[in-house]
Structure formats: C-alpha cells, structure tokens
Assembly symmetry: C2
Homo-oligomer: 309 residues x 2
C-alpha cells in the first residue's frame, strides 16, 4: 500500500498514468468507511487528540488511517506527523497507518492526491480515515469536501485570546471540540463551549444535524476526560447521517465537485504555456479584465479557440 | 437605459448578441462607483431600509440604482420591488432608478444579467448601486461576489427566535445591521447586536476591515434612528477599503471569478444536449461517479472529447 501511495503522490508523468490505472482498478471497499476531517490551529493539541482518539478507535477494532493535508511543507512542524510523535504508541499500533504530508506546490494537487490516497487506504481495508489539516489558506474547505464529518478542535479561551478560527469554518464544522479542558482551564473550556454553542444558535438550522446545529463538547486529550463522550457523539452523528441519507448525498456531491475541479485543472493544463495556448488565454483574460470584452464574450472566445487546435 | 437593460435581460439569442456588443462598447464610468449588497430574511424590513437609506443617499447627491436578485420570481413578493412600494417616494426621486427582479430560470443566468445591468447603470452615471437579495439558496454569495460591501439586515432577537441567517453569511457580511431598534424592541436589538459582535469576535480577524471584524449596528428604518450612523459607517468603510487597496483587489478577483464561471457556462452550453455532446458528458460523469474512471481520468477524457469535434 505504501508503494501505491508513493506512486499516487509522484509528479512524474509515467507514474501518474500508472497510478490512475491502479486507482481505476481498485476494489470498492466492502464496509462503508467513516471519513473524518480535523482542523485546529497550531498548539491546540491536534497530535495529542489524534493519538488518544486514534488509540481508542483502534482498541475498539477500527482500522485507522491518518492522512495530513498541508499545502506548505514548511508549516508541517506542529503536525501529528512530525518526528516526535513517531515515537508514540498510535503509529506502532497494528490497526493504524499514518501517512506523512505529501509535499506539493499547490492545493489542487494536494487535494487530488489526498482523495486518491483515501481510496487506496479504503481499498486496503481501513474503515476509518482521519484527514488532518493545520488550516492554512483554503485547506479546511478542501478537507471538508473529502470527508463525512468535520471536527474543529479549539483551545479554551475566546474573543481576543482566540483569533484562529476562520469565519467560514462555522459553515463546515460538524462537531466543535474544546480541548485542554483540564486543571485551571476546565472552567474556561466550558465557557468557550457555551460561547460557540451560542454563536451557532444565532445561525440558521441545517438539515445535516439531528438537532439542526453542531454540538460543542469539551475534552482533555492529555488526561483522557471526555474522549469517550466525543467518540460516542461521533458515532451517533455518523449513524444518524447514514440513516437520514446525508452521507450518501454528501459523497455524491463531493464526487461531482471533484469532477468539476478536475475539468478546471485539465483545462488549465491544456491552456498552459507549453501547448502554445498560454498567450492566447492571457489575451482573453486581459480582455475580460480590461472591459474590452465582457467576461461572457471572453469565455466563449476562449472555448472557441480551444476547439480549433 | 431601460431599453438596454431589457435587451441584456432577454434570453433571445439575437438580443443576446446585440446586448454583448452594447456592453463591450459601454464607456467606463468616470467616478468610481459604490456597489452595496443587501440581504435579510423576509419581514426584517428590507424595503423600509432601502427606501429610507436610499432617500438619504439621493438627498446627499448620490445617483442610486436598486437592483434585485431573486432566482425564484414567485418569492419576490416581500421585496422592495413589489407593487406596494412603487408608491413610496424613493422610486419617484429623480436620482433613483429601481429595477424589478428579472425572471430567470437559474442562478447563473441571474448573476450574469445582474453583473451586466450593474455595468449599464454605472455607464449611465449611477454612482451607487444596491443589489438586494432575499437570500434564497446561494444568492447571498452571488451578490457578495458582485458588490464592494455586503450589508446583512437582521431583526432583533436571537437563538431560537432567529434562525434565518445562514452560517456562511458570517464569512461575507461586512456590516451587520439590526433593524427595528425602536419601541419595545430597542433593548432586544442592542442585545442582538452584542450577540453578533461576540460571535464575530470568536473568529479570525480579517484584512478587509479596519478593526479586523465587521461592525454590528442597530437602527430603526421606520423611525429613522441610526440611519445617519449607518450611512457614515458605510462611507467610512468604503473610504478605508479604497485607501487600503481592498476595493481594487476585490473587483479584480470578482472579474476573474466571473470569467471562470462563464467558462464553465460556455462549456456546459457546448456539452448540452443539442450539440450531441450531452450523452457523452453524462457517460463521463457517470464513470467518475461509479468509480469506473477516477474523476481526473473522466475530466481528461471529457476535455479530449471536446477537442475532437
């Protein structure tokens, strides 16, 4: 499997062609998998959480793959996949597989490869996948677009103390977890959970939660408090969504969005410099920007040019 | 101008070609315009707000065009553009132009036409444009994508009383206005504004606001309280964003996004049924969905098919 993943992550054209043949021939997994997204700012305790929750899940019989999405490899220092945590029990558990962040230049490439690696590990029998992101740029949205349930891990505190959560995250978070609810921070964590629950109640109810709003729970990954409750909540939410058809609908929408993104990537590749199309494309973009052509005109002229090689 | 707008809104192919010629030949407006987006759930007082704020702006010398975006014409009953409000002073003010909702089948078409109408009214000398939406489906995001400042109008109340605001709106709102801050509701409105300010402070600061977070203000459109403050805040924010280069950057990004959307529309048109391409496209989409092809393979096969007519 590691070999197949290396192939999928390779940018060499020959490897790419082979990787796609491998991917198209993969068996569909027998049991439906559970794909979890996880985001949290550096220092919030993501690695401790993945370690503790991962061990619980593996102990319960899950086969767990942990992947990371991090567009800038320079920023991966705080991730679960750093050298330090390789010494922890989870990476050595027989049911667990942990894959370091692939280095990639742009987020689109990371997205494609991560989606493909998810298919690989599921075909290899892993029934639970955690895709972790440090939340640089658009990576949370990207991870939410390839997972069933998105977990947002936060530190206790709020307002001016805590400025790490992007606004759009409220749209995609399915479960808000306030970590480090231990010792002196336990009371602050409760208050933070209440603040987020309050903020979420200001917004429109959604069909993808049994109560119409995501839950906000507290836990201590270090001391183990609340882990059982978080795991139970996760499985309850997954069961409810499967039953309600939310899972199936979400995955179908995700594949369509992936296909749309790939059409964009394929077009970009086609229109990039080495096909001699590059300059022409810039011409249309410039014409659309300057107002010389309207964007609808520029788009049609571009497509027309594409059809007459 | 009304004639040009009718032309732009027409779905007849001949009209479309002529409309695009007209649009490409429009003079660029001399003074930079201010484009305001406005959203709020039915009953929140959008028409009263537009009427009161519009009259203030026109009295101050602005030339104001009010457009509406409403993908479902059946839902436009509560809009500023209903028959009732045609009797109000604003539509009869010499500096004001109010355009009823164009009927259109899909949001993409509404978006294109509204962008084009914005260009038309600006070329005709209107320096302030309000684009109003009742917030059905994705219309808020669409309006935010064609305006400089997005206003969210809310009623006093919160939590279970107020479930109208979509989560993603926090991402796009530039100014949150709690309307109906009069009589018995004045205190509730203050509390609602504080609740939203608190919710916004839980999130990451952004570069597009002088303070890093959007302001939440209260007003009474009916009694006139707070209107001067809202107008001053609007102009202060616009001035700051112009100075900081936010306006220019936003508009450039918006034109590029429009161009991308138009490329998608042009491709869809090309691949739709009457060109004989429809079935083939479905084949690739189905292959991508079933796992028979990976989405990257399906996308490339589709583009390949497109290039060989």
């Amino acid at each position: 499997m590691a070999k197949a993943i290396t192939l999928v992550e390779s940018t060499h054209p020959d490897h790419r062609a082979l990787a796609e043949t491998v991917l198209a021939d993969l068996p569909r997994p027998g049991t439906p998998s559970l794909r979890l997204g996880l985001s949290g700012t550096p220092g919030v305790g993501k690695s401790t959480f993945v370690e503790a929750m991962g061990l619980r899940m593996c102990a319960g019989g899950a086969r767990l793959a942990v992947l990371a999405v991090d567009p800038s490899s320079a920023r991966s220092g705080g991730s679960i996949l750093g050298d330090k945590t390789r010494m922890e029990p989870l990476p050595r558990h027989p049911n667990a597989y942990i894959r370091p962040t692939p280095s990639a230049r742009h987020l689109g490439g990371v997205a494609r490869r991560t989606r493909e690696v998810i298919r690989l590990v599921e075909a290899a029998g892993f029934d639970t996948v955690i895709v972790e992101t440090v939340g640089v740029g658009q990576s949370e949205t990207m991870v939410a677009e390839m997972t069933d349930i998105f977990l947002l891990l936060l530190a206790p505190g709020g307002g001016d103390e805590l400025q790490g959560v992007k606004r759009g995250i409220m749209e995609i978070a399915d479960l808000i977890l306030i970590n480090k609810a231990d010792g002196a921070l336990a009371a602050v964590a409760q208050r933070t959970a209440a603040d987020y629950a309050g903020a979420l109640r200001l917004m429109r109810r959604r069909q993808t939660d049994p109560d119409g709003v995501p839950k906000a729970l507290t836990l201590s990954s270090a001391e183990g408090h609340g882990l059982a409750e978080v795991e139970a909540e996760l499985h309850a939410l997954a069961a409810w969504r499967r039953e309600a058809g939310v899972f199936a609908a979400t995955r179908q929408r995700q594949v369509l969005a992936w296909l749309d993104a790939e059409i964009g990537i394929a077009l970009d590749a086609l229109m990039s410099a080495d096909t001699g199309f590059g300059t022409t494309r810039e011409t249309f973009v410039d014409a659309g920007m300057s107002g010389e052509m309207t964007p609808p005109q520029a788009a049609r002229a571009l497509i027309q040019r594409l059809r007459t090689p």
